[in-house]
């Protein structure tokens, strides 16, 4: 049954994608513009101030998310005033490209949206371009963007699921699990036993289990949400470098604050090797502290973003070739990749938690004598 629902979700995903890209493709065609597959993919995997539902990319149906700016005080307005503002076309330095941005109206006046970034208009009421990038200052943007919205929904989903699991145990006590608890208990036990207990000292691992569980389920749930092509999914949250940066910094901080004398000793004064080597090893070990979480950040970002790009590129084949017959090739391939992505969604969560546990385990390890 579960298999079937995943399949049906995927089929819907493909349908919606076809619809979405199809219509946007047509709208480009109407303007005598080439379908730009990389622009379409980039648009999808990057953040936005609106949640596009269906219809053409410009002028389709979207949920306009709140914009929150810190610019001489708090300014909030709907992103509708940015998207449905005054459209401006500027000739770029190279004559063949024209740059397109939107000036906000109403409460959003004074700001402009260019490539999903908000800029302050200059005295003349326009953006000052240098090449393809505006020179105008940017206000601090705390908007509830598509990714923030997805983040909130993902967190909400995890809370609902885990609270209902917890409710089962609170109600029934220490009995054999049933229903939702039966599904999630093996996964929770796996994180506790195979990730935490396996990598962290037996007497110290308990403290880190809640963190590892949270990080695992956060990544897994959000990865899965990212695979759903429509509300409440479709955002590329775990494939966003900001999110993976935050998660890896969390692991870095947990590792650093857990580090014992033995750990720091191995970093600054490696035991068991000659003094010149000790001095040589010190900077390497210090760099090592940061490369480990850096690798975590890049791994999750690249895996999830790559998954989104592959699916979109395969679907994009149809529109690059302007022939529906290509669907016969690209849809089965996209299906294959999407099924693979379901595995990757779990695997990346597992890996992130596993490697975090490994780093923490190394930090709390006692000296061997």
């Amino acid at each position: 049954m579960q298999h079937f629902s995943k399949l049906s979700i995927f089929m819907r995903k493909v349908t919606i994608l076809l619809l979405f890209i199809g219509i946007s493709g047509f709208s480009f065609a109407n303007k005598e513009k080439e379908f730009n597959v990389s622009e379409m993919i980039m648009h999808h995997i990057k953040d936005a101030h609106e949640w596009h539902l269906y219809g053409p990319e410009h002028g389709g149906t979207s949920i306009y998310l709140p914009v929150i700016l810190m610019d001489n005080g708090l300014k909030t307005f709907s992103s509708k005033h940015l998207y449905h503002g005054e459209s401006v076309e500027v000739a770029g330095k190279e004559q063949e490209i024209s740059l397109h941005y939107v000036k906000g109206v109403g409460p959003a006046s004074g700001y402009a949206l260019y490539h999903e970034e908000i800029y302050k208009l200059n005295g003349a009421g326009e953006l000052q371009f240098d090449g393809e990038h505006p020179h105008n200052p940017q206000p601090l943007d705390f908007s509830i963007t598509k990714n923030v919205m997805s983040l909130l929904m993902g967190a909400f989903l995890i809370l609902i699921v885990m609270f209902s699991v917890a409710k089962f145990y609170r109600k029934n006590g220490a009995v054999a699990p049933k229903g939702i608890a039966k599904f999630f208990e093996p996964i929770i036990v796996m994180v506790r036993d195979d990730i935490a207990k396996e990598n962290i000292n037996e007497h110290k691992y308990k403290k880190y289990v809640p963190y590892l569980l949270t990080i695992f389920f956060f990544i897994w749930f959000n990865n899965m949400l990212g695979l759903i092509p429509f509300l409440p999914g479709g955002a590329n949250l775990t494939g966003n470098i900001t999110v993976t940066l935050f998660l890896s910094v969390c692991t870095l901080l947990v590792t650093l604050f857990s580090g014992n004398k033995n750990y720091w000793g191995h970093i600054f004064w490696m035991p068991g090797i000659p003094v010149p080597m000790k001095i040589f090893m010190m900077p390497i070990e210090i760099i090592g502290i940061f490369t480990k979480p850096f690798a975590l950040m890049i791994r999750l970002f690249a895996n999830i973003t790559a998954g989104h790009i592959i699916v979109l590129a395969l679907i994009g084949l149809i529109f690059i070739n302007k022939n529906i017959a290509w669907a016969g090739l690209s849809v089965p391939m996209a299906l294959f990749i999407s099924v693979l992505e379901i595995l990757v969604a779990f695997l990346q969560g597992f890996l992130f938690a596993m490697l975090s546990a490994l780093f923490i385990g190394a930090a709390v390890e006692e000296a061997h004598h």
Binding site: I68, L140, T145, V148, Y169, A174, V189
Partner: protein, 164 residues
């Protein structure tokens, strides 16, 4: 390029949401779930241990029962033997006693018979004596019917006495 540049706003919201999530889950989800799972695991481990212990106890109990049964059987055999012995003894006793009794009775009977016999003999003797006397009287009367006969007898008697 902005694909790999962190965004301050998203970082801010991710931080807040993740920290809230960590706090809420740790307090209201992971703690009760892990506690329940641990409690259950402990319960299962204890139950298994108890089962092994109970099995050992059962074994010991069975051995004990067997021992008791064996002892009981031995005791029963013993009792039976004793009873048999006692019975035999009693029979033997009774036999001996009855023999003695019988002998006594026989002895008494014999004594009785003897005394009766003696009495009878004595009576017969008396009777015979009386008869003899009567016969003798009659004979004597006959003998003494004439003088010659008296004289002859006297002489004979005298001759007998002399001979004795």
């Amino acid at each position: 390029m902005d694909l790999i540049l962190p965004d301050l706003g998203l970082l801010f919201w991710t931080g807040i949401v993740f920290c809230c999530l960590l706090f809420l889950l740790a307090k209201f989800a992971w703690k009760p779930i892990l506690n329940a799972v641990n409690a259950r695991e402990q319960k299962i481990a204890e139950s298994l241990e108890l089962a092994v212990k109970t099995q050992a106890e059962m074994k010991a109990l069975k051995a004990e029962n067997d021992q008791i049964l064996k002892e009981a059987r031995a005791e029963r055999d013993n009792i039976l033997k004793e009873a048999k012995d006692a019975a035999n003894h009693m029979i033997e006793d009774a036999k001996t006693k009855s023999k003695v009794e019988a002998q006594k009775i026989v002895e008494a009977a014999r004594l009785n018979i003897n005394s009766e016999k003696a009495a009878a003999i004595a009576e017969i003797k008396t009777h015979v004596a009386t008869l003899a006397i009567e016969i003798a009287e009659k004979v004597v009367r006959g003998e003494l019917a004439s003088d010659e006969k008296q004289k002859a007898l006297a002489e004979k008697l005298a001759g007998d006495i002399q001979m004795n």
